[in-house]
Symmetry: D2
Subunit: 299 residues, 4 copies
C-alpha cells in the first residue's frame, strides 16, 4: 500500500532513558529493558522522545544513547530517534547524526519557544529543511502538553507535502482531528496514536498504530487491542482499551516519566531515576501507582 | 442491563428551533422536520439544546416548543428537553415544567457564569437539587465550547452519585476521559457522544449512542456506524466515520447552528433563520457547505 | 472634553443584590447599603452586573431592582444598569426597559454562549443594534472570567464606532490593552477599570475611573487612589494601591460574590445570602477574609 | 534599602544576538549596538534572553557571547546573563560558566518542557539548586508567552525564599499579580517589568525598573517614563507610556525578535538576521513597523 515508504503499522515503545543514582546513563538497564520488550511483536522502538528525557541530555549523551539503541535493536525492527531542537540548524545537525548512527526515521517535535511566531509558513520551512537534509524519513511529533502548541490540520497538511515526511505521532488526543487528517492525506500519511488512552479510538479513524508509553510495561495488552481489531473482535478490543486507560494515565499525564519509571521498577523491569527538575515518585504516589497497576491486571 | 433506568442506547438528533423571517418559531417547519426524521430508527429527540438556540428563547417560547415537540414525537420515542439555567431555582422550575409537558428526561447544562466558583461541591449540589425535584431522569450535558468549562471525571462521578442522574452527553471530545468514566461508573451510567465527529471513537470506549447535530441531515449514515459496529463490520464502520467528520465539522464547530440550518435548506428539509447575535450563513460559506455535503455523499 | 457625552470619570460600586434567607430580594438591605455609600464622593452606581447576580434573577426581579435603585440613587449620581442577554432581541428589550425605569446608561456584556461564532461582525452588529434601539448610552463590559471570551482591541474599536457606545468596563486586567485602546480611541471613549486590583495601573494608561467591587466595602481607600493621583502624590497612591490588592482579590476572583457579601457582613453593612449554585462562604474562608480585611485596614 | 543585595533599579535592554548573512554571530554589530546604548543612563544589559535567541545558540556560542558582552559593558553597569536550561544540571553548569565569565547576575527561565510536572516543589528545588551553586544572584524570569507556564504568586514566593534569589523579570503582564508579590515580599525582592507596554503600570504597583526590548531602540523615551515618575510628573509619564505601547507591541508580541531587528535597521542601528525557524520580517510587515515607529516618534 505504501510502496517504498517506511511502514509504521504497529506499536512502538518510547524508551525511557535509564539513569543510575549518580545521574549517569545506565547502559545495562537499557539493554535489559530492550531485551524484555524484544519478546513481543513490536514494530520498533523510539528513543530520545519525551519519555526519553531528551531535553535533559547533552549532545554527547544523545549520541551515545542512539549508538547503544542501534546495537540493541534487531535489524528487522525500526529504530526511531527524536531529534527536534529549538533551531532548524540544530535539528538538521542532530537528525543527520541520528541517521549516520543507524536511525530508520526521525521523530521531530516542532520548535515551540517562539510559539507566537510559529506560523504555518515557519513550521513548514523548518520541517522541509530537515526533510531535505537527510535521507531517512521524518515523522511529525505533535505534543501539546509539552510544547504548548497544538498543530492544526492545515498546518500538518502543509508540512506533510514533503515526500520525505511520512507520518505523525499525535499525543494531543483530538480524535476527530486525526480522522480529518486521514481523510485529507490518505493512507500514504501514517498516523500513530501518541497515547494508549486512545489507541482504539485512533484506530477507529484511520491510525495505523501507536507510540505508547504503556507499551514499556504492558506490551501484550496493548498489542491485543490491535490484534482483536484485526480479527473483528470489537467488543473484546473495547474491553481491553477501557481497562488500560487508568494505568496509562498514571504513567503519562498524571505522574509522567517518574510514574513510568516507578511502574517499571514495581514490575521487576530495570529501575532508574529521573533527572531534575523532574522529581522521582514518592508516597503516596507510589502506592497509588501500584494499586492502579494491580487493578488493571498489569501487575 | 439497566433495570428500570431509561435506556439511552442509540442516536438522538438535537433539533434546531426553526425561526421564520419575522423571528417567530415556525411550527410547521418543526413538524415537517420531525416527520422527516421519524422514518429512521432513532431512539428519540432532543429539543432546547445548543442547536435549539434555547438561550435565545423566552420562557413562553420554550414551553410552546416542548408542547409542540411532545405532540409530534411518537410515544415510543424519547423526548429529551434541555433545561439548564444559570440559577438552581430557575433550572428546577424549568425542569418541572418540562416534565409536566411530557419530557422523558432533561438534559442539564452546568451553570457556568461564575465558573471560577463552580467547584465540585457547588455543581454536585446544583445537579442533585434538580434531580431531587423531578421524577424524570437527568442527563448531564458537558459542552466546553459553550460553557468554557470542561467537567472532569471526578466532578462527573460526584454528580452521578444521585440515582436519578443517568448519563452524560459529552461534546468535549476527550475520548480517553469517556473511557475512564465508563470504567469508573459502569453500564448504569450511559454515555452519549455529543458530536458525530467522534461517534465511533466514543463507542470504542463504552458510549451507548449519541446526540448528534449531523443526525438532523444524515440520519442513515450516522445510524449505519452503530449498526456496522453491532454486526462486527469494523472496517466499514471506520470508513463511514471518517467520511462524516468534515461534514459534521461544517454544521458544528465551523459554522454552528447557521451551518446546520443552511445544510437543511440545501437538502430540501425545512429551512429557517438563526436569531441574532448569530448570523445566517452567507457566501462563501454557503458554497463551501454545499461542496462538503456533496463530497460526503450527504447531498 | 466629552461634550454632551455622559461623563464616567470616577468610581462606581457594582451593587450586590441582597437576598434574604428565603431567597427573596431584600429591599431594606439594598436601601441601607446605598445609604452607606452615599456618604462618599462616588460618581454613580451599577446594578445588575456580575456582583448583582443578574443571571440569577427573573425578568420581574430585574425590573423591581432597577426601580428600587432609581428611587434610592440621588439624581446627581449615575445609575448604570447591566442589561446583556444571550440574544440581541432580549438585550434590546431589557435595555429599553432599563431606560424607561430611569437608567442613565446600560452596561452590556457581550453574548458568549456561541462564542465560537462571536466574530467581530456578529458582536458589532449586536452592540450597534442595542445602541440604535435606546437613547441612553451603552458601555461595553469585557469580563473574560465569566464569558470565557476576551474582547480584543480591534473588536472593541469596531463596536465603539457607534456614537452611542461611550466606554468600556474592563475586568480582564490586560493593562497594555487598555493603553492601546486609549491611544486608538482617544478621550471620547471612556475606560473604566473593572477591578480595584489594577485601578492605579489602569489610570496610568488613560482610564478615567473604575467599577470596583471593593468600593462596596472600602470606598474611602479606593477614592484616595484617584485623589492622590490628581494631587501628584504618586508614591502615596502606589502605597494604597498595593495595600488593597489582597483584599480586593478576596472579594473578587478568590471568593467572588460570596466573599463580598461575607465581607459586608463583617463590616456591619447589610448582610445577605447568595443564590445557588453559588455557595455562601463558610469556614475557613470566613476567617481568612476577616484576616485579610484587618491586614488591609478595611476592618 | 537593599543592603548588600545587587541593586536592579532602572532599565536594562535585552540585547538581540546579531547574526550575519552566514548565520554567524556578528561581533562588530554587537559592539556597535552596545556603544550606542552606552550613551544613555541604563543600569545594565541582559544577554542570552528571549530577544537574544539563546535557544538558537550552541554552548560555545553562548560562552563567546558572554565574553564579548563582558568586554563591552562598562564595569559600573550590570551584565545579566540568561542561563535557564531544561535540566537542573545544565542550568547549574551554564550559570557557573556565566559567573566565571564575569556576569553580575543570572536570569533563569523556569524549566517548562514537562510543565505538567513543574509543581511548586519541583520549581523551588530547581531554582534553589542553581542559587546554591553560584555566588552571583539569581533573577527569576517569568515568560508565559514562551514557556506556556505562568508562575503564580505562591510559587514565586516559595522560590524567592532563597537569599540568593533577588528578583523577578515578569513578561506576563498581570499587573495585579506584581502588586501582590510586592506586598508579600517587600522591597528586598526586586520586580522588573518585562515589557515596555506596562512599565508605568508595573512601577505603580512597586516594580523597580524593567528589562525592555524597546530600550534597544528607544532608550530615551523609556527612561523618561521613570524619570517623570520620580519627579512627580504623572501626567507626562502617562502620555509617554501610552505613546510607546504600539511600537513596543510591534517589536515584541506582534513581530518578535524579527520585528526588533528590522526596527534596529530602520533606525540606523546595526542590522542582523534571525535564525530559523524564525523568519526575517518582510513586506507588508516592514512597512507597518516603519509607520508605527514614525507615529510613535521613535523614527
Amino acid at each position: 500500500m505504501l510502496g517504498s515508504i517506511l511502514d509504521l503499522h504497529g506499536l512502538f515503545p518510547p524508551i525511557p532513558t535509564p539513569f543510575d543514582e549518580t545521574g549517569a546513563i545506565d547502559s545495562a538497564a537499557l539493554a535489559e529493558h530492550i531485551r524484555f520488550l524484544s519478546a513481543f511483536d513490536l514494530s520498533g522502538y523510539v528513543v530520545l522522545g519525551s519519555n526519553g528525557e531528551a531535553v535533559h541530555l547533552s549532545n554527547d549523551e544523545r549520541d551515545r544513547l542512539v549508538k547503544m539503541a542501534r546495537a540493541l535493536v534487531p535489524k528487522d525492527r525500526l529504530l526511531i530517534v527524536g531529534t527536534g531542537c529549538p533551531s532548524t540548524r540544530q535539528t538538521i545537525e542532530t537528525s543527520k547524526q541520528a541517521a549516520s548512527l543507524g536511525a530508520d526515521a526521525v521523530l521531530v517535535l516542532p520548535p515551540h519557544y517562539y510559539r507566537g511566531r510559529m506560523t504555518m509558513e515557519a513550521l513548514a520551512a523548518h520541517f522541509h529543511a530537515v526533510a531535505d537534509a537527510i535521507d531517512i524519513p521524518v515523522i511529525i511529533y505533535n505534543m501539546p502538553a509539552c510544547t504548548g502548541m497544538d498543530l492544526d490540520t492545515v498546518t500538518i497538511a502543509a508540512i506533510a507535502e514533503h515526500a520525505n515526511i511520512i507520518g505523525l505521532k499525535d499525543s494531543g488526543g483530538n480524535i476527530a482531528k486525526l480522522g480529518v487528517l486521514h481523510q485529507m492525506l490518505g493512507d500514504g500519511f501514517q498516523i500513530l496514536a501518541g497515547s494508549a488512552s486512545f489507541l482504539l479510538p485512533a484506530l477507529s479513524v484511520g491510525a495505523v498504530g501507536g507510540v505508547l508509553a504503556l507499551v514499556n510495561i504492558a506490551p501484550a495488552q496493548c498489542l491485543s487491542i490491535q490484534e482483536n481489531v484485526q480479527e473483528g473482535n470489537w467488543d473484546r478490543a473495547r474491553e481491553i482499551q477501557v481497562q488500560l486507560i487508568e494505568a496509562n494515565t498514571a504513567v503519562t499525564s498524571r505522574w509522567g516519566v517518574a510514574g513510568l519509571k516507578a511502574a517499571m521498577q514495581m514490575m521487576g523491569l530495570p529501575s532508574s531515576f529521573v533527572r531534575a527538575p523532574l522529581l522521582d515518585l514518592r508516597e503516596p504516589g507510589l502506592g497509588q501507582v501500584k494499586q492502579i497497576l494491580k487493578k488493571s491486571n498489569i501487575l
